[in-house]
């Protein structure tokens, strides 16, 4: 887990940034960081590399995709080699050169920062360190934008996060009409604000009061919740063998959208591609909704049926992950899967079904 600012021995600070100076600060930060942030595109708001002159979109309700791609691109080159046998090092894999100079994601949602902390448990373990994810993570400064007006699908307060959640962020910005107030949460955040170099220090107590007022107002606007309190008392097999999964999965078309938009879904595939003699090994996002995901070469498939795959997704998020790590559910309540699902499958409803399930026999 990342250290809180207190543990690092750093004093919490608030900075007020006049919106008139915002663009100047963003330009300043480009000197030291590759910038990422929300950008409006044809199909909605995405988190992307901010090209020169492009400012992060700071007024939006929902982004279609989360910031997970900053550490975990949808398709990423990991290894390469040549198949040309006249070359001395043919067929010997080497790591692809990737630019891990400092990055900053500006304007991301607090629940997406929390999600990155959950994903970190998968990629940074005591046994193995995924160098691609971890190097990108270590290079990144997370500058969040608090959510003053939560979207219709937001249930983050019941999923271990919230509109002003600080977990995983280095700076939390709050929009206060003509200014942003930045709360510095870590040394990385302090470095970013130093390079940003606009804004004035503001009174800590007063600023925290303002944050708390906005937070309470925002939290009041979150109307729905995910119910998971009784899941830890039910065994994996008890839930796995429950009779409701066919009903849950009935309308699912296994499109996988829920997994791609999810900020906590990390599953991936590894594929080789060769052009002439140059061979590259890629890591691509994969989805547990696909039957190929688990299909053995023999033709046997342990999750052959749609119901098995839908069950896997919800069991992983709400039961396997919480049981394995004891850090809560693998969901931050962003609501993207609910909003994007073409057949209206709703994780809140599934969780409720699981949570309230009692085998009468």
């Amino acid at each position: 887990m990342i250290l809180s600012s207190k543990e690092k021995g750093h004093t919490m600070k608030f900075i007020t940034i006049d919106k008139k100076d915002w663009a100047k600060g963003i330009e300043n930060s480009r000197k030291a960081y590759q910038l990422f942030g929300p950008v409006k595109e044809k199909n909605g708001v995405l988190i992307k590399n901010l090209e020169k002159g492009v400012l992060p979109l700071m007024e939006y309700t929902d982004s279609v995709m989360s910031a997970k791609s900053v550490m975990f691109p949808q398709s990423e080159m990991i290894l390469k080699t040549t198949l040309d046998e006249s070359k001395e090092d043919h067929h010997i894999m080497k790591r692809v050169d990737t630019n891990y100079s400092p990055r900053a994601v500006v304007g991301m949602r607090p629940f997406d920062a929390k999600a990155i902390q959950l994903v970190k448990m998968n990629f940074d373990t005591k046994d193995f360190r995924d160098p691609y994810w971890c190097d990108a993570y270590e290079a990144t400064t997370f500058v969040g934008l608090a959510v003053n007006k939560p979207g219709l699908y937001d249930f983050s307060t019941s999923a271990g996060s919230g509109p002003f959640g600080e977990d995983g962020l280095d700076v939390l910005l709050a929009d206060m009409d003509d200014k942003y107030v930045a709360k510095i949460l870590s040394d990385k955040g302090q470095d970013f604000i130093d390079i940003f170099a606009v804004g004035t220090s503001s009174d800590e107590k007063e600023s925290q009061v303002l944050f708390d007022v906005l937070r309470k107002e925002a939290e009041k606007n979150i109307a729905s919740a995910i119910e998971t309190d009784k899941l830890k008392d039910k065994t994996i097999l008890y839930l796995h063998e429950a009779p409701f999964w066919d009903d849950v999965a009935f309308s699912c078309i296994n499109c996988g959208t829920c997994t791609y938009v999810c900020p906590t879904c990390w599953c991936f595939d590894i594929q080789d591609e060769t052009k002439r003699k140059a061979s590259t090994r890629f890591r691509n996002w994969d989805t547990c909704m696909s039957s190929l995901f688990t299909s053995h070469a023999s033709g046997h498939n342990p999750r052959d049926a749609k119901t098995q795959r839908v069950r896997q997704r919800f069991m992983h998020k709400l039961k396997y992950f919480p049981d394995k790590y004891e850090e809560g559910i693998m969901c931050v309540g962003c609501g993207r899967c609910v909003k994007s699902c073409p057949v209206n499958i709703d994780i809140r409803k599934v969780a409720k079904t699981m949570n309230s399930y009692e085998n009468k026999e």
């Binding site: 894999m93 193995f128 995924d130 599953c267 070469a297």
Partner: protein, 281 residues
């Protein structure tokens, strides 16, 4: 910490056709860098990703034994894209190996115990590794009686035939070799399915006896009742699973059975452990 996706470069040193139908071949690999062989220090029961640049990777049990030095061996069934490509490669070709991966048979717990090894078909690779390990002069006195029940469809489908027949002659291991059927009038060993041979020949259970079982699902399904008949408890039955894998290090998400990952928490589980997980294998 090293990049766990980076394969060690190896050269194919030898290729042996392992079964009469030529669907299995045993590949012997030598590490291009001597220090990689030390890094690839493994235990019997572990697996590795065979990594062919431009084609892909496959998780395969290690058939050589930790006591065999200077090379590693894998016996591979030709079934998909990567295994078919591998079957068409030749001695001298360069490829990669990533590992060792997964857990292993619980050798510490098995010390001073009687061991019953039960294998069927081509799921005998990590069992071969285990037998060689136990029979090694430095290890044999760590274990009590060793019984092996191994069956295949026909004599020509048995893996490692020469070694099997050598072990058969030894007095420190009890071999029970069987085939489903044969028209060879000279066949000196058993005829019949593995579950039946287990029931007739394997030792009865006691607190000091453990069974390690590997084979096709159908064999495992019908061998379990035989072991129950002989009095084995679920925690005395040790099994090795297979599932589709990519990363082999517990990250890519596809090989899970409940919260356990076959690649990292397994592939070796006791039946007692498997009884607590969904049967998604």
């Amino acid at each position: 910490m090293e990049n766990p996706y980076m394969p060690y470069p190896v050269r194919i040193d030898d290729i042996e056709i392992a079964t009469e139908d030529r669907s299995l071949k045993t590949f012997k690999f030598v590490f291009l860098n001597k220090e990689d062989e030390e890094k690839f220090s493994y235990q019997a029961g572990q697996f590795a990703e065979l990594s062919i640049p431009g084609v892909g990777e496959i998780p395969i049990g290690i058939a050589s034994s930790p006591v065999e030095k200077g090379f590693v061996k894998f016996t591979v069934f030709r079934t998909g894209v990567v295994t078919t490509h591998l079957h068409n490669m030749k001695v001298g070709d360069i490829m990669g190996i990533r590992g060792p991966l997964g857990n292993w048979y619980p050798w510490e717990k098995l010390e001073n115990k009687n061991i019953v090894i039960i294998g069927g078909g081509f799921a005998f690779t990590t069992l071969r590794s285990s037998i060689i390990y136990m029979l090694d002069s430095a290890n044999r006195n760590k274990f009590k009686n060793i019984d092996v029940v191994y069956g295949a469809r026909s004599p020509g489908m048995l893996l490692y035939r020469e070694e099997l027949f050598e072990w058969e002659k030894r007095d420190d291991i009890n071999m029970h070799i069987t085939v489903d059927g044969t028209d060879d009038p000279e066949w000196k060993y058993h005829t019949g399915f593995v579950p039946q041979i287990v029931e007739q020949n394997a030792p009865k259970a006691d607190d000091d006896t453990y069974a390690i079982i590997c084979g096709p699902p159908i064999m495992i399904k019908f061998t379990q009742p035989s072991l129950v008949q002989l009095g084995y408890r679920d925690d005395q039955i040790i099994m090795s699973l297979e599932n589709r894998m990519k990363c082999g290090i517990g990250m890519c998400g596809r090989c899970n059975i409940g919260k356990e990952l076959v690649c990292k928490d397994g592939p070796v589980f006791t039946l007692e452990e498997l009884n607590q997980t969904p049967k998604e294998y």
